[in-house]
């Protein structure tokens, strides 16, 4: 699978100076063009997403932040092929996405509902692989590896509900990486866990991303998290949503909860994203009419 060949690529992908031009250096993995989603309610149709255009280079880790209710989840569902957009296209590695593509895994915020309570941790991780018709031996390998990657080897036979919230979300992450996706979509995955667990999980994601070279689109409402995790932060406007800003995070590859967060540059970036979000909230009444403010 291509995820393996990308292992080394993932490591140097975080090279700071190179991130300014994400188009040139490596092929586009995920391309969202003119995405619009209107929820049909007859007379009171709601335009959740107006016009979103952005792309992710292979092996990138990009965070998507926006004010609450800005249609982040809608966008993610459209990208994941779980919901058809009203107009616009999503392409994964050049292939148009109309149904959930095999090269994509989603980690949902609601781990308790996303994991199947009637299956052990191991069975949860293994089920998608079974459906992918991966031979038994390779399946076992993948499950073992991914459970080890999230540090849950000894809980393979437990049920998800016997684990803490953070551990359950790690199971969901293990399930996603065992699937060997080209793109990993994460929908506010740590919004429901406590702060300490959250820090651990953030580092886990960085670590997995560097090791596997997978492309990650991480949706969050947490500005600190977005800046800490991402190589790039896309700031969304209020609903109806457009991309309001595209910020390159030029922090060192090796991030640390303590030192990175104290870094002057981190504070600057954080302030910038914060200001953007405030602006987005203010202009919520006067909805933007034109195409996204940032061209690619």
């Amino acid at each position: 699978m291509s995820a393996n060949s990308g292992t080394s690529a993932g490591a140097d992908a975080a090279n700071p100076g190179a991130t300014t031009n994400h188009q040139g250096e490596r092929p586009t993995m995920l391309k969202v063009t003119g995405l619009q989603k209107i929820y049909n309610g007859g007379a009171n149709a709601v335009e959740a997403v107006r016009d979103l255009t952005f792309d992710l280079g292979e092996g990138k880790l990009v965070c998507l932040v926006g004010p609450s209710g800005c249609g982040k989840t809608t966008l993610l569902k459209c990208i994941a092929g779980l919901m058809p957009p009203t107009s616009g296209t999503v392409e994964l590695a050049g292939q148009s996405v109309t149904a959930p593509p095999p090269g994509m895994a989603v980690v949902f915020q609601e781990y308790g509902r996303s994991l199947f309570a009637w299956m052990s941790v191991r069975a949860n991780v293994e089920l998608p692989l079974k459906e992918k018709k991966i031979p038994r031996g390779r399946r076992r390998e993948l499950v073992d590896e991914s459970l080890e990657a999230v540090g849950l080897t000894s809980f393979a036979h437990a049920y998800p509900w016997q684990l803490s919230g953070g551990m359950q979300q790690r199971v969901a992450i293990a399930r996603a990486i065992a699937y060997e996706p080209q793109v990993l979509l994460m929908d506010e995955p740590f919004a429901a866990v406590d702060a300490q667990t959250r820090a651990d999980l953030e580092d886990l994601i960085r670590q997995i991303w560097q090791r596997m070279g997978v492309t990650v689109l991480f949706v969050t409402h947490d500005i600190d998290e977005a800046v800490y995790l991402g190589e790039r932060v896309l700031v969304l406007s209020s609903s109806p949503t457009v991309v309001q800003d595209d910020i390159t995070v030029d922090l060192p590859t090796e991030r640390d909860q303590l030192t990175t967060r104290q870094d002057e540059r981190f504070t600057e970036l954080r302030a910038r994203v914060y200001a953007e979000i405030q602006q987005a909230k203010k202009s919520a009444g006067a909805a933007p009419t034109a195409a996204p403010s940032v061209a690619h």
């Binding site: 779980l82 989603v106 049920y159 509900w161």
Partner: protein, 286 residues
């Protein structure tokens, strides 16, 4: 589809799946010895039963003392007649329950997949469901006489609705996040039914089966008693018409025992099948 579902839910909520909140399991452990209390209760009840006819409060002709009835039961238990009757009753009960189960599950899952058909059949179901099974007795006699099939007709009719309604609610209760997860991981329609819809429905289904198991026994006995198809019910009718009062009571006790055993069996099954479900698993360990 969601609309009809929520309406349906608001209109008449089925019994909570798997007796959620029905069994205070924690209290059983902290309180006094429950089995012991239960045994004392039974002994006290039998003592009263024994005393009432002896004291002349009720004539022995209508209520023989417990010792007489239990002796009659023990005597009957040594003859094959009782066991054949029990066997016949269990066949009517089990076969009827099984037919109702299979039909209700198949139809319920089909309706879950075809919300339009469900909306179309809703009113018919609401009309047919309240018809008491016993009202079908004349029909059963006309169609099948005193055959086993008469019993089956009544049992299947009563049990089918109980299970079917539960399955309808169950298949409509699939968590959207679980559903989306399954879809995003490429699970096809059949795989989603097997790994998501079926386990979601299971707690509802087990509730339906638990209720239906009790109702099936009632109707099996009723059919035998009234129609005269073979089984304990028929034995009771025969004993009654020949004036063997203590035998009548003995057989009634036997049906009660059968009911208790069936209930225990269903509970055990429920525990096993739903060991992952909130109603059974109790406190999470972490």
């Amino acid at each position: 589809m969601t609309e009809t579902t929520t309406q349906g839910t608001a209109r008449e909520r089925p019994e909570a799946p798997a007796g959620a909140g029905g069994r205070p399991r924690g209290a059983a452990r902290t309180g006094p010895n429950k089995p012991l209390l239960g045994a004392v209760g039974i002994v006290a009840f039998l003592g009263m039963w024994e005393a009432v006819p002896h004291l002349g409060l009720v004539s022995e002709r209508f209520l023989p003392p417990a010792s007489t009835v239990l002796a009659a039961l023990a005597q009957r238990a040594t003859t094959p007649g009782l066991w054949i009757a029990v066997g016949d009753t269990l066949i009517g009960w089990g076969l009827g329950l099984a037919i109702a189960f299979v039909a209700a599950v198949l139809l319920g899952f089909a309706m879950g997949a075809l919300p339009r058909v469900r909306a179309f059949t809703n009113s018919t179901v609401d009309f047919l469901r309240p018809i008491p099974s016993v009202a079908l007795i004349p029909l059963a006699i006309l169609l099948y006489g005193t055959d086993l099939r008469s019993t089956l007709l009544l049992v299947v009719y009563a049990c089918f609705w109980l299970i079917y309604i539960q399955v309808l609610y169950g298949v409509a209760d699939v968590d959207p996040v679980a559903e989306q997860t399954a879809r995003s991981y490429g699970l096809g329609r059949l795989a989603r039914i097997r790994y998501v819809v079926w386990p979601t429905t299971l707690p509802y289904l087990m509730t339906g089966v638990r209720l239906a198991a009790a109702v099936a026994l009632i109707l099996a006995i009723t059919a035998q008693l009234i129609i005269g198809s073979p089984g304990i019910g028929q034995e009771i009718a025969v004993a009654q018409s020949s004036g063997a009062v203590s035998s009548v009571y003995a057989l009634i006790v036997a049906t009660g025992a059968l009911g208790v055993l069936i209930n225990i069996g269903v509970r055990v099954l429920e525990r096993r099948v739903l060991r992952w479900h909130t109603s059974v698993r109790g406190e999470a360990t972490a």
